[in-house]
């Protein structure tokens, strides 16, 4: 049976609402995807019948909560084909996962050690490393970005040198939609014994994957972009890599024993989960990943590719429109950034909003990439399987309106 977005739409209650009395054309999925009823139900059911703190109680509810939390970990492990559940660390999102990694991997580093990243990184995979540079004096080296909006991997040979300890790159740009080919990255890292950290915030929503086959040592993503709740994220790590990492935050749940003289830490993943974790959020994430794996999204990629190409082609027909990202569907996802000559991205987003079209305008937390393209920002339409041809039509009607409003500006 052909993929039918209507069957997906009916599972997302928010898509039937009319914010401000207008139909909703939600094209801001790269920022946060919407949540299906089944995930809302799973969270409600957990909070209604299983709410308790995890690991620290022997009463029935505490055991049920722990089971639900660990069950969610198992689902994540299955989603990314982990060897063991213990490779899955729950965090509060991609940002907190990368901060954990930057702290732990950076602990033993100092002057002369090098980290390789790219000009295309989201601030979440940039600022933690800038902070590490401030603390430890490490050197950061940046892969450039091609005119097409891809990380220029031909520069790996020059940038990855003997003292490189970590290569950390986005799996998929939240601005250009370009997917990074990790094969040469992993080869370069292996040659010098560097770790590979992958920012999977934009790629994880595309469906089940295999982080270790990709060659990653660590892989981060967020719940709210994979149809789950916010306040939950994942740092997956190879067992040996996690085992060698010191903790980041200290607190309850992450220790083996504590005295006033000393502390010893628990094994991964607990070592990295200090304090009460986001329990219902983890349960929601598990439900969301189960939903993605359930087969509803079979054929969705073709559908989204077609819509993405429609957007790209229609943009190319608008004088003064500039696409920031690849113009074909090879190794790219449905994230389309564009600039319109003379129109500020906030004004574009605002006018689109009066048509019920939700897009994002601004620098998308990627200021160095904006600078690379000589822009202060772009407007960005980003797709999910529930988007339709009507959404694309509404987008372009709204863009026409923006161009009219600002003609002669």
């Amino acid at each position: 049976m052909a993929f039918d977005p209507a069957r997906i739409r009916e599972q997302f209650p928010i898509l039937a609402t009319r914010p401000m009395g207008r139909p909703l054309h939600y094209l801001d999925n790269a920022a946060t995807a919407q949540i299906p009823q089944t995930v809302i139900d799973a969270i409600t059911a957990h909070e209604t019948t299983h709410r308790a703190n995890v690991t620290r109680g022997v009463h029935a509810l505490a055991e049920a909560a722990t089971e639900a939390y660990e069950g969610a970990r198992h689902i994540v492990a299955r989603y990314m084909n982990a060897t063991a559940d213990s490779e899955v660390v729950f965090t509060y999102g991609t940002t907190s996962a990368i901060n954990l990694a930057a702290h732990a991997l950076g602990e033993g580093l100092g002057e002369g050690d090098e980290i390789v990243l790219s000009v295309a990184e989201h601030h979440a995979n940039l600022v933690p490393w800038l902070m590490l540079r401030e603390r430890k004096g490490v050197t950061l080296r940046f892969l450039p970005v091609t005119d097409e909006g891809r990380i220029d991997l031909s520069a790996l040979n020059n940038l990855v040198r003997e003292r490189c300890k970590v290569i950390t790159l986005t799996h998929c740009s939240n601005v250009t939609g370009a997917i990074t080919d990790f094969r040469p990255v992993v080869a370069a890292a292996r040659a010098v014994g560097a770790k590979v950290l992958v920012d999977g915030a934009q790629m994880a929503p595309k469906g089940q994957f295999d982080a270790s086959e990709l060659g990653a040592d660590l892989y981060a993503f967020s719940g709210h972009k994979v149809y789950g709740p916010n306040g939950i994220g994942v740092l997956w790590g190879r067992r040996d890599v996690l085992s060698a990492m010191p903790p980041f935050m200290g607190g309850g749940g992450m220790i083996r024993s504590v005295s006033l003289e000393s502390v010893t830490y628990g094994d991964p993943p607990k070592r990295f989960e200090a304090g009460t974790p986001p329990i219902a959020q983890a349960v929601g994430l598990g439900a969301a990943l189960n939903w993605v794996m359930s087969g509803y999204l079979d054929g969705a990629h073709k559908h989204m590719d077609r819509l993405t190409l429609r957007i790209i082609e229609r943009l190319q027909g608008i004088p003064g429109a500039r696409l920031v990202g690849p113009a074909n569907m090879e190794e790219r996802v449905g994230v389309v950034s564009f600039a319109l000559d003379g129109l500020h991205p906030h004004d574009i987003a605002q006018i689109l909003d009066r048509h019920g079209v939700a897009v994002r305008g601004g620098h998308h937390c990627a200021e160095p990439l904006m600078t690379r393209f000589g822009l202060t920002g772009t407007a960005r339409a980003s797709l999910a399987p529930y988007n339709t041809d009507e959404d694309v039509d509404a987008l372009f009607e709204a863009i026409e309106d923006a161009l009219r409003t600002f003609s002669g500006h």
């Binding site: 401000m20 003379g342 500020h344 004004d347 605002q350 009066r354 202060t376 500006h409």
Partner: protein
Amino acid sequence: MGGKDIYENDIMELARAGSRPRYIDAPDGTATLDNPLCGDRVTIEMRRDKEGKIADIGHDVRGCALCQASAVALADTARGKSPVEINAALSALQKMLKDDHEHHEKAWPTLAAFRSVHGHKSRYECVLLPFRALLVAISEGEGGDASRP
């Protein structure tokens, strides 16, 4: 989100004027402020007369239509005013955005154009940024606190 259409003619006219930079001779103070939310940047220059009132204002806006419009409205509003009065204008503008009060329009007629932004909370800072920049420019010129008379 908000109900009204932001881009009414008044704002669009101001924005058109604000889309080109305007520089003044021999400024007494200059300030550049960023809006970290969107990366917008406003530079305001000002010169004061013998009584300390604002004689002229220049602007260079790398930002949205609201920010451009506000820079022009600021020049219009602030000319001949003291720093205390400009502070009052900023408060009035903030109130107008927040509460949609009509009575501020009488005191600051040019600012009335921004009533249409009421309700669009994410855009308030776009409108306020040039005013904030002027106060910093004044304080820079005085080498002190912008809120001081």
